[in-house]
């Protein structure tokens, strides 16, 4: 996740021969998939977070956050244990940065897991100010509210921000170096989840600025203000997706959140037009989007299928038949498979489930196999059964 698409291609000569061969095969499959040509087999993209990875090594998650060598050992353990055609492990949040900032919305739990606590940055009577200048309002008003260490005089605020920014760049550099080494060692292709993360304007305001309670009430109490606000933050969301000058071949990742909780009228007014615009405008800037389609979007398939064909869908839940017939007709998609079933079903039943899914979704020719969500706890799965499932797809899901 987050690994530059051409990383291995640019460094092909440094790969060991076996990894080079694997990379070439996997990349050819990925290239066909992304070109909407039927690849020779279904690619397998397993996904485990650092929280799950440490379960394989027995190290402390807390230690891994602060010791990059330990984190690398855990990430490597995932690669050694589970088959995947792309890097199957990642870490997306760095507690040290939140520590420095005194973050109130993201906190480190005693078990080492990052915990989100709903936090309302903006009161309902601040919409006008936010709509007029979103980034300015975030910098001047919201940041001091959400980060205790930035609720300070200008000198301290500057120093804290500089320290946090330096730590963020350092952690990113260390983790990308880990991902690069693992990609070289295991011959992974770049997969389909890469690039910076952005979100839809509605999710941005609902997840953070107004909080879930706030935004759900605002739909009815302040619909005009909310509509203006989602339009006002769209440029910022596009900028997150497509930083810098236009160059082709880039990606962004868009986790979708609130839509399944909205009625159709609210979806049509506040959510869909901005999501569509985000994907379309990112594409115009040379950025391809991978959407994490969280929860069940089956009732919104008529909308999803109108997105540019460059958009890739990672589907959490829903009807695989309808997804195949509609979205999958002109788009690359994958997901649905719940790895948690390995705890309660036999190995044969787990493989049968994968087989049924592949039988349905392979009809599109554009299907990749992945989990419905990243595995976040190694105890939530049966390692042996999940290994068998991934290897079955690799060996048997052949066109």
């Amino acid at each position: 996740m987050g690994v530059p698409a051409d990383f291995c291609a640019e460094r092909g000569t440094t790969l060991n021969p076996q990894a080079t061969e694997l990379f070439a095969e996997r990349n050819a499959i990925r290239d066909d998939l992304l070109a909407l040509k039927t690849p020779k087999r279904v690619p397998v993209f397993a996904l485990f977070t650092l929280e799950a990875a440490v379960g394989l090594t027995g190290d402390s998650l807390l230690d891994c956050h602060y010791d990059t060598a330990l984190a690398e050992k855990s990430h490597a353990a995932v690669c050694e244990t589970f088959y995947s055609d792309a890097l199957p492990t990642y870490n997306s949040r760095f507690p040290s940065v939140y520590d420095i900032l005194g973050s109130k919305n993201w906190k480190l739990g005693s078990n080492g897991a990052m915990q989100y606590s709903g936090f309302e940055f903006m009161s309902e009577d601040e919409y006008d100010e936010f709509i007029a200048a979103p980034y300015q309002t975030i910098l001047e008003k919201f940041i001091p509210r959400v980060c205790s260490e930035l609720d300070a005089d200008p000198v301290k605020r500057s120093l804290v921000l500089a320290e946090a920014f330096a730590e963020f760049r350092q952690k990113n550099a260390e983790h990308f170096a880990i991902y690069g080494r693992l990609m070289e060692r295991f011959g992974y292709s770049a997969g389909v989840i890469a690039g910076p993360t952005t979100v839809t304007p509605f999710d941005f305001i609902g997840d953070q600025i107004r909080g879930m309670n706030g935004i759900m009430g605002d739909i009815f109490r302040y619909p005009d203000k909310l509509e203006e606000a989602v339009r006002a933050v769209l440029p910022s969301m596009i900028r997150l997706a497509a930083p810098g000058a236009r160059t082709d071949g880039r990606w962004c990742f868009i986790p979708l959140h609130f839509a399944p909780y909205l009625n159709l009228k609210a979806f049509q007014r506040f959510y869909w037009p901005l999501l569509e615009q985000l994907v379309v405008d990112a594409e115009k800037l040379g950025v391809r989007s991978t959407l994490f389609i969280e929860n069940n979007w089956t009732r919104y398939l008529d909308y999803l299928e109108t997105l540019p064909t460059s958009a890739v869908g990672w589907v959490d839940d829903g009807d695989p038949v309808q997804f195949t017939e509609k979205f999958g007709k002109d788009h690359v998609f994958g997901g649905f498979y719940d790895p948690l079933i390995t705890l309660t079903k036999s190995k044969e039943e787990c493989i049968d489930e994968a087989k049924r899914l592949c039988d349905t979704c392979m009809k599109s020719g554009h299907f990749f196999f992945t989990f419905n969500k990243s595995v976040m706890d190694i105890k939530s799965i049966d390692i042996g059964k999940l290994q068998a499932v991934l290897e079955w797809v690799r060996d048997k899901a052949i066109y």
Partner: protein, 49 residues
Amino acid sequence: METKDFQRTFEDYLADHPDISPEVAKRFKPTFEQLDDEFFAFIMANVVL
């Protein structure tokens, strides 16, 4: 991008530093803009995302 509010563009920066030669300005522009994008991403990703 059209995130104009509170954004100091490279052109704003150059207006404050008219002594910088056009050749140097041309070479410095990508660095300035990359840092600006990185900082924007840092603020959004770590503070409000």
